[in-house]
């Protein structure tokens, strides 16, 4: 265990960003801690923030566990992260604008044509169409892990509709309510501007023909969706309508929403549904969630869709390998954030390496998400490894593999008191006319001892994430 970087304790000394927290936790008796934990849970329950897991059944109103011990970044640490995240968000958007236009990066031989153009997420339907301001991915969620004081790795990019930002905001809200003294004694940068920034980001990509203040809506698959809470929370915080496909219709090259006062024009759609379901006339004809004719309006410039349909080709796990190359190609810069070394099982020699070292590797499905369909070699039994080996051999193109990273730990409240637990970080970068990043993000924590899987569907919890002012 000593090989893991502990973000609070370094060689027996408390690292500076956590200085204040040492006293705080030392002075908190167990009874008070339990009391606070119960209070936090009641608050979450009251505001209705719950998380339902796809395909798991059970209680759809289950709470995601909240760990009160915050995760802290010093201003200097964040400064570097921020530059790296924004750089990556710029490169990903430049890549998308390119592959739907001339495809220079492919022509230059820096990324294989088939990887891009035969990718499931590549949408022929939007080739040649340039969305407003040339932005495809308006909310880029970049999953980061840390292995040392200065070592950060990007685990994956989320260019479509990264979820979880409501936890970033609610976690902070709850910490401020329960521990106001911590906020008085630490100089913690606020994250509450996020909804306002999201709103102005969306407004900045309104169609050119939009008269006056754009009407923005959030498009949700509906109240049965596991992230419905987040959709309604963001709509409320931004002061925009939360709509389902059935609330919208197209006419005369515009999109309208059905209101009690008749049709009202819609200019920007922040959609939280997948491309395939957006428009039965363009994509899956059986989709009941989408808006018939929406894509025709989009491609003729009558409405903006965020993220742009087709943005998924940039966050594919096989394309991920080439993101550092995108940074060099489009920005002429060296990547500030590193990729995790990745082996592509689609390549014969790399597949051999993967199969020989399954016990040490993490293997993921190329198109999977949420920690499903994944093998963590060092934490798996022989039988599990062999079962997975068969799956890889059966369809090697579907898998990539990475070394098991020594994820950093942050002290967390556990039954016995306080103990280190592994964490990752998802910051949310906003890309519109400007690129914005609020100082913070969602820290996910693997609450089971020794576990490296932070997904909420696999026993993960969340923490408030602090960025200290200088």
């Amino acid at each position: 265990m000593s090989t893991y970087f502990n973000e609070m304790m370094d060689r027996g000394a408390v690292r500076p960003p956590y200085a204040q927290l040492q006293g705080w936790v030392d002075q908190m008796p167990a009874e008070l801690r339990n009391l606070k934990q119960a209070e936090a849970e009641a608050l979450f329950r009251r505001i209705g923030i719950t998380f339902a897991v796809y395909g798991e059944g059970g209680d759809p109103d289950r709470l995601i566990p909240f760990d009160m011990f915050p995760r802290v970044f010093a201003a200097q640490e964040w400064f570097r992260l921020e530059r790296g995240i924004k750089q990556r968000a710029r490169a990903l958007n430049a890549f998308l604008a390119d592959v739907y236009d001339r495809g220079e990066i492919v022509r230059a031989g820096r990324i294989p044509a088939r990887l891009v153009y035969l990718n499931e997420a590549y949408e022929k339907a939007v080739a040649g169409f340039r969305p407003p301001k040339g932005v495809y991915s308006h909310i880029v969620g970049i999953d980061l892990v840390r292995t040392g004081p200065d070592e950060f790795y990007v685990l994956e990019d989320n260019c479509r509709t990264p979820s979880g930002v409501s936890y970033m905001l609610e976690n902070r809200e709850i910490m401020m309510r329960m521990f106001p003294e911590l906020f008085a004694s630490n100089r913690i940068q606020p994250v509450e501007a996020y909804p306002e920034l999201l709103r102005s980001t969306l407004a900045s990509v309104a169609p050119a023909n939009c008269p006056g203040e754009p009407n923005i809506v959030i498009l949700t698959p509906g109240h049965f969706n596991s992230a419905y809470y987040e959709h309604s929370f963001l709509a409320d915080m931004m002061g925009v309508e939360l709509v389902e496909g059935q609330d919208l219709f197209v006419e005369g090259g515009q999109v309208y929403m059905r209101t009690t006062q008749g049709p009202k024009r819609v200019d920007v759609i922040y959609r939280r549904i997948d491309d395939a379901f957006l428009d039965p006339l363009c994509f899956r004809p059986d989709s009941m969630l989408g808006v018939p004719g929406l894509m025709d309006v989009y491609r003729s410039g009558g409405v903006s869709i965020c993220s742009a349909p087709g943005a998924g080709v940039a966050d594919d796990k096989a394309v991920y390998t080439y993101v550092p190359e995108m940074v060099r190609f489009y920005l002429g810069e060296e990547p500030i954030l590193q990729n995790v070394p990745t082996w592509q099982c689609a390549k014969a020699d790399e597949l051999t390496h993967v199969l020989e070292n399954l016990g040490d590797l993490v293997v993921k499905e190329v198109h999977g998400s949420g920690g499903y369909g994944m093998l963590v070699g060092p934490k798996s039994t022989k039988a599990e490894i062999e079962a997975f080996r068969a799956k890889i051999i059966d369809a090697p193109d579907n898998y990539i593999a990475q070394p098991t990273l020594a994820l950093s730990t942050v002290p967390s409240f556990v039954e016995q008191g306080v103990a280190p637990r592994h964490v990752d970080l998802r910051p949310y970068c906003l890309v519109g006319e400007r690129i914005e990043l609020v100082p913070g993000g969602l820290t996910r924590v693997a609450l089971r001892e020794g576990s490296l899987v932070v997904n909420s569907s696999q026993g993960g919890g969340v923490k408030d994430t602090w960025v200290l002012a200088e």
Binding site: G48, H223, A235, E244, R258, T260
Partner: protein, 316 residues
Amino acid sequence: MLSRTAENLYWLARYMERAETAARLLDVGSRIAMLPNSEQGYRNEWEALLRAGGSADAFARRYGDPVQRNIESHLFFDHENPSSVVSSITRARENGRIVRTALTTQVWDALNTAFQEMREMERRPRSAQSLSVLTDWTMRHSALVRGAIDATLLRNDGWDFLNLGYVLERADSTARLLDVKYYVLLPNLSFVGSGLDNYQWRTLLRAMSLHRAFHWAYGGEVTAAKIADFLILNPQTPRGLRPCVQAMTHHLDRLAQAYGAVTPAQEAAQALRDRMEAVTIQGILDEGLHEFLTRFIREVSGVGQKIHESYLGGDL
């Protein structure tokens, strides 16, 4: 406001009111069952009540024998009966969850607490829960939700749609209860004015929590004419038809004013109110109470249809 949001608010209210109606039916039924048996036994009376709730056939298929325990199951716990207390509260809460941000924390709390407690009750053994506990529980939670709405919601269009849901559902259920009593409950005309008849009338008033109010307002002997006047025309009766119609036009007028546009919904409600203002109790009895109520129910449903077309469907 999104049409669908308005629709969710409207149905939230309708389902809350429907839960209360189911509880009241249960209460009426159990009191009637305490009577010495009439010639046909009390089976007829239960069936009549089920008919008022519109679920007599479904009940017969699912349960067969209308004994108290089956009726309790049907009207309170049955998820397959769309008008049962659990169905209604589940749907009210689901509608509320969808438009969570259009509600205050207090309203959501009241709604969600009712739902969570109800799930608790479903898990508890049935023998530990008497009928009066069930009906009291329903009344209490329905009042809590209603109170939270009155005390904390902004008086905007959403408020009007909630209220429209309440009053339309209430007008419908009062009319049905009254109709059942008069038309179905009495086995034959010879009972009119008899001791049995009066007992049943009183039970009906009691089920609507109106028996004391009635005596304060009318005093003396209970007659069909007095009760009809009380439940149909008296402007002070909280669950009466006339106040429901007045509230209907009130909320629709507020909408017309806020939106700066009159729709067929206002016209339909106005026409209904004009008729209610003009009618007398003698006129109703001459037409026949059943005929009057049947027409009333149809007209209320017509107003609901117009509200749907004008505001909730979004197909203007």
